[in-house]
Structures are given as structure tokens and as C-alpha cells.
């Protein structure tokens, strides 16, 4: 990575990503809570109300350690002046194809820290759509990450909800589940609340989370924070929630240079956000 950016630049990128994730986290807590940012006129109500990713099903209850963005991916490019700028955030299901030292252990720590109140040794599972419903590379990635994290890889049919608790039926019998690190999109997660025909999730999951008995990682409804509609407001959200100037600017649309970009992963355990370099991306392909 040395020829792409130096240590001082990485320091700025990692602080900037940390700041950005902190603002996105506060924004999501506000969207699914009091809605101050709308009442104060910083972001129009229209943004939430016209977003297909605003999930009213999860409004009004907070996740156990307050974290909704446990893992995020931020894509950056260098602009014509050589400054790094953010082109996209992913607070939903970032593909964690990074093997940077320290990342998996940090992610596992964040998953465990997300467990419901009072759980001492949480049971974490990784929920995949399965080989038949994932791209080949994505499913291979799920298998390898689960192995790296040391958690069970399960599919919807392996999970059962009962009285607002979730159980996994694995090779080791029936285990109560505390944290579901899901690779299944919101729409497919719980046929009781979302797409009724879905077999990729588990009916009862949302109400188990509402009851505080299981944590879904990343939280349901995060898509309202990382879409094209919210992106232009990020600098304002950083000023509004954190009272700071943004360390990383947005890229001006239509002026994207023909330049290789950088992906950064952020992992939030509720106490601290750790940022890891996630490799290079081909920015021009992503932005057209």
C-alpha cells in the first residue's frame, strides 16, 4: 500500500472514516428514535419517508449496546488535488473480504460486544443466504469468514424462533443464539415483517430483536444511512452530531478522476471504532 498512500495520509483516512461512522451511527439512532435531525431542518423528512430502506418495523427500540453499524465499508478516491474523498458508505452488509491483521478478531469482539444484556459468553452465528441463493464468490467468502471468526455458519432453515428467543439447530444440537451476523438483506430476514415468501431468514427474528433477546448485525434499517439520498448530507451530519468539521469530503459528482480508489473497513464495538485498510477498489467502475 506504500505507493498508494503514506502513513500520514492513512492516519487522516482512518480518523475521517471513524468520524463518518460516528455520524452515521448517530443519524441512525436519531432516524429510528426522536428524529431531531429532521425537526431541526438539517435533513428533510422526505428523505426518510421516501426511502424504501426506512424500516418502520424497527423504530422505537435500540440495540443492546447502542450500536447499529458494527461493521462498515467506506470507499474513497483521490481527487485531482490528491486529497482523499469518500464516494460511498456501506452500513448494510459490507463484503468483508479483508484479511488485514487484526480485522477478524476485532470484528468478533464487536459481535460479542453487541450481545443482549446479561449474556456473559454470547453465542454468535453467521447467517448466509446459502450456496443456492448467493453468488459463488460471496458464499465462499461467508464460509471463509465464518471459519476465521470461529462462528457457526447457518442458513434460515437452521434457525427457529420461539417465544422471542432464537435457536440454532447445528451439528451440536439446539443452541440459543445471542447475535446473528447476517449476510441476508433486510427484505428477506423475517417473513412475518418483510417479504412473506422468504425462506432465507427466520419468522420471529424482528420481534426477538425488539424483545432484546437477540442482536441483528448490522442492524435492520441501516440502508437509510448509506443511500444516494443521504450521501450529500454527510458533511452536515458530521457538523450537526459531532460539532466537528468533516475530515474527509464527499466527491463532487460528475468530476470523478480516473483513479484507483481505496476501501476502508470500520468496526465498532460500542466503545471504539477501529479502521482497517480494505484494499483497493476500482473506483471508475463503481461510479460510471
Amino acid at each position: 500500500m506504500a505507493d498508494i498512500l503514506d502513513a500520514a495520509e492513512w492516519d487522516l483516512v482512518s480518523r475521517g472514516v471513524r468520524q463518518r461512522v460516528a455520524a452515521l451511527e448517530r443519524f441512525l439512532g436519531d432516524v429510528y428514535g426522536p428524529g431531531r435531525v429532521f425537526d431541526d431542518g438539517v435533513v428533510p423528512w422526505r428523505l426518510a419517508y421516501t426511502s424504501g430502506e426506512f424500516r418502520r418495523e424497527v423504530a422505537g427500540f435500540a440495540p443492546p449496546n447502542g450500536v447499529r453499524v458494527h461493521v462498515a465499508a467506506t470507499d474513497l478516491i483521490r481527487d485531482e488535488q490528491g486529497e482523499f474523498r469518500v464516494i460511498e458508505d456501506n452500513t448494510r452488509i459490507p463484503s468483508c473480504a479483508t484479511r488485514v491483521a487484526g480485522f477478524p478478531s476485532r470484528l468478533l469482539a464487536a459481535l460479542r460486544a453487541a450481545a443482549p444484556q446479561g449474556v456473559v459468553d454470547p453465542f454468535v452465528v453467521m447467517l448466509t443466504p446459502g450456496a443456492a441463493h448467493s453468488e459463488h464468490a460471496a458464499y465462499a467468502e461467508h464460509k471463509s469468514l465464518a471459519r476465521l471468526l470461529g462462528v457457526d455458519l447457518v442458513e434460515g432453515r437452521d434457525l427457529r424462533c420461539h417465544r422471542n428467543h432464537v435457536y440454532a439447530h447445528t451439528g451440536n444440537g439446539r443452541c440459543p443464539v445471542d447475535v446473528v451476523y447476517r449476510q441476508v438483506a433486510d427484505d428477506w430476514l423475517d417473513p412475518m415483517h418483510f417479504r412473506p415468501e422468504s425462506r432465507l431468514g427466520c419468522p420471529g427474528l424482528i420481534n426477538a430483536a425488539r424483545a432484546g433477546n437477540v442482536t441483528i448485525v448490522n442492524a435492520v434499517g441501516n440502508g437509510v444511512a448509506d443511500g444516494r439520498l443521504t450521501y450529500p448530507y454527510l458533511p452536515d451530519l458530521i457538523r450537526y452530531y459531532l460539532g466537528e468539521e468533516p475530515l474527509l469530503g464527499n466527491a463532487e459528482s460528475g468530476r470523478l478522476p480516473w483513479h484507483i480508489g481505496l476501501r476502508a473497513f470500520a468496526v465498532n464495538d460500542g466503545r471504539d471504532v477501529a479502521v482497517f485498510p480494505g484494499g483497493l477498489t476500482q473506483a471508475w467502475e463503481r461510479c460510471g
Binding site: 428524529g35 425537526d39 431542518g41 419517508y49 418502520r56 424462533c161 420461539h162 412475518m192 419468522p203 420471529g204
Partner: protein, 285 residues
């Protein structure tokens, strides 16, 4: 001073579903418990599920509705939900001074009211129907426009059970000219929004008899009507055209039916064979 016309109503709402064969892992939510509001007090409410005694869990959803959630993990051939409530209702408060169209527009653009101003799939109507139905209402005051819309919907859509289903949208009901209270409420909500007013869909009950004697039980049904905002929320019942007052019991309010279904669920197993709903309404006082 006017006498406050208040009713005490007892509601017994029984829903029975039977299946063509065994059903398992059934997860459901009922939205049947009346709200407590300035114009309505729920004195007592109870919801039980069978066969047997199925544990239930309640929460309040985004719209403020009391939701009862339950599951039936064991194989079963039928399902029965008994919801009962005692509610004190009151005549609607006299509407406060309503705003001008411009003032409504200004308020809507800057507040949560916008959520009730935007169309949903069930409350989207095409430009032709909108022009026919509300093309001329901007010349009226908002309250008069809303009353005219309800009257036009009542005239256009004939009450005919079976003509539409729970998934029928406003445009389809308008084109058909037939439907039930749900359809009339959807068309009314759609047209109120098209005219520029925030509007919401209300799910509840209506006692059929304005002169009901206390103690006598009447057969009623689930009912739906509409509310609009022109400075404060006011209600309209396009099905009965009766004032929304002591005979109406409010259970839930949302953008359309999909936000407030009395019963929804998911299960594995045999298809549904029959569903029967019985609503008994008794004026107690």
C-alpha cells in the same frame, strides 16, 4: 353548553381460521386493541388465542398501535383469536379553525405530516381519476373540500362485499365503482392527499345503530374510515357518511391498510380453507 354524547361500548371480535390440513410454525400479529385517545378511552382489553392457551406478547408499533404477537409452534388445523374490549367513546370535538391551503402546504413540507401526504401503492390514483374527483376542490376551504371528497367517494363506490379483496388499491376500486369500507377509505385517503391534505387510514369498529339501546348486542364488523389534517385532524366516514363520533371505535391509524391489518401472519403447511370473523358490539351505557 352541549351535553357530551358519550357511549360505553363492549366489543367482542372473534376470528376463526381453518386450514385444509396441518399447519406448523405459525407466527402472527393482531392489531385489534382499541387505542386510548382524547376522544376515546379503552377501559379494558383482552386478546386470547387458541387452540389451547397460546402465550401472547404485546408491543406498540411505529404507528402507536397495540400489537399482539403470538406463535403456534405445534401442528394445528385451526386458529381462533378472541379480542374483547370495553371502550368509552365521545362525540368528536368541534373542529378548530382550519388553515388555508397555503398554510397546510407550509406545515406539511416541514413536519411529520408529510408521511401522510405522500401516496402509497394502495393509495395511488392516476391523473384522470384525480382530475375528475378533486379537480375543482381547491376553490373550496380545506374542510369543505374534504367533505366533498367523502361524498363523491360514497356516490362513486357502491358498497358491495366480495367485489374487491384486501390487496385492492384505490384506483381499482374507483374504476370498478364497487367495494367495501376499506376501499372507500383508501379512495378517500388517496383523493385527500391528491388535493393536498395529509390523510390517514383508520381501522376500527362502527356500531350500526345510532339509537342503540343499552344492553342489546348488535352484529357489527370491522370498519375503516379516513382522517385528514387541515390544522388539526378530523375524521370522515365515506361508507356511512355518518359523523365520526361515539359509535366509532379507533383501533389503529396508518398510511393505508398495510400499516394496520387486524391480522397478519406467516406459517408453513396446508392452505387456508376458511376464515370467519364475528364482531359483536354492545352499547353498555
Amino acid at each position: 353548553m352541549r351535553l357530551s354524547v358519550s357511549w360505553w361500548l363492549r366489543i367482542a371480535h372473534v376470528t376463526e381460521v381453518s386450514y385444509a390440513g396441518p399447519v406448523l410454525t405459525s407466527f402472527n400479529e393482531a392489531r385489534m386493541t382499541p387505542l386510548t385517545l382524547p376522544t376515546q378511552t379503552t377501559l379494558e382489553a383482552r386478546l386470547t388465542v387458541g387452540p389451547g392457551s397460546v402465550p401472547v406478547w404485546t408491543y406498540r408499533d411505529y404507528w402507536g398501535t397495540r400489537v399482539t404477537s403470538f406463535e403456534l409452534p405445534e401442528p394445528h388445523n385451526h386458529l381462533v383469536i378472541r379480542s374483547s374490549a370495553t371502550v368509552a367513546t365521545a362525540a368528536a370535538a368541534a373542529p378548530s379553525d382550519s388553515l388555508s391551503w397555503g398554510a397546510v402546504r407550509y406545515a406539511v413540507a416541514r413536519s411529520r405530516l408529510l408521511e401522510f401526504r405522500l401516496p402509497t401503492p394502495l393509495t395511488t390514483m392516476g391523473p384522470e381519476a384525480v382530475e375528475t374527483a378533486v379537480g375543482d376542490v381547491s376553490a373550496m376551504a380545506p374542510d369543505d373540500a374534504a367533505a366533498a371528497i367523502a361524498a363523491r367517494v360514497h356516490e362513486r363506490v357502491t358498497f358491495l362485499p366480495g367485489a374487491t379483496g384486501v390487496r385492492t388499491g384505490a384506483q381499482e376500486a374507483w374504476d370498478k365503482g364497487q367495494g367495501v369500507c376499506q376501499d372507500m377509505a383508501h379512495v378517500t385517503v388517496a383523493l385527500l392527499r391528491a388535493a393536498g391534505l395529509p390523510a390517514r387510514y383508520v381501522s376500527g369498529y362502527l356500531h350500526p345503530d345510532p339509537w342503540a339501546e343499552p344492553g342489546r348486542t348488535a352484529i357489527g364488523q370491522s370498519h375503516a374510515w379516513a382522517e385528514y389534517w387541515a390544522g388539526s385532524w378530523s375524521a370522515l366516514d365515506p361508507t356511512s357518511l355518518a359523523p365520526v363520533a361515539a359509535r366509532h371505535v379507533i383501533v389503529a391509524r396508518g398510511r393505508d391498510y398495510n400499516d394496520v391489518p387486524p391480522l397478519k401472519g406467516t406459517y408453513r403447511g396446508a392452505p387456508e380453507r376458511a376464515m370467519s370473523v364475528k364482531v359483536e358490539l354492545t352499547r353498555l351505557a
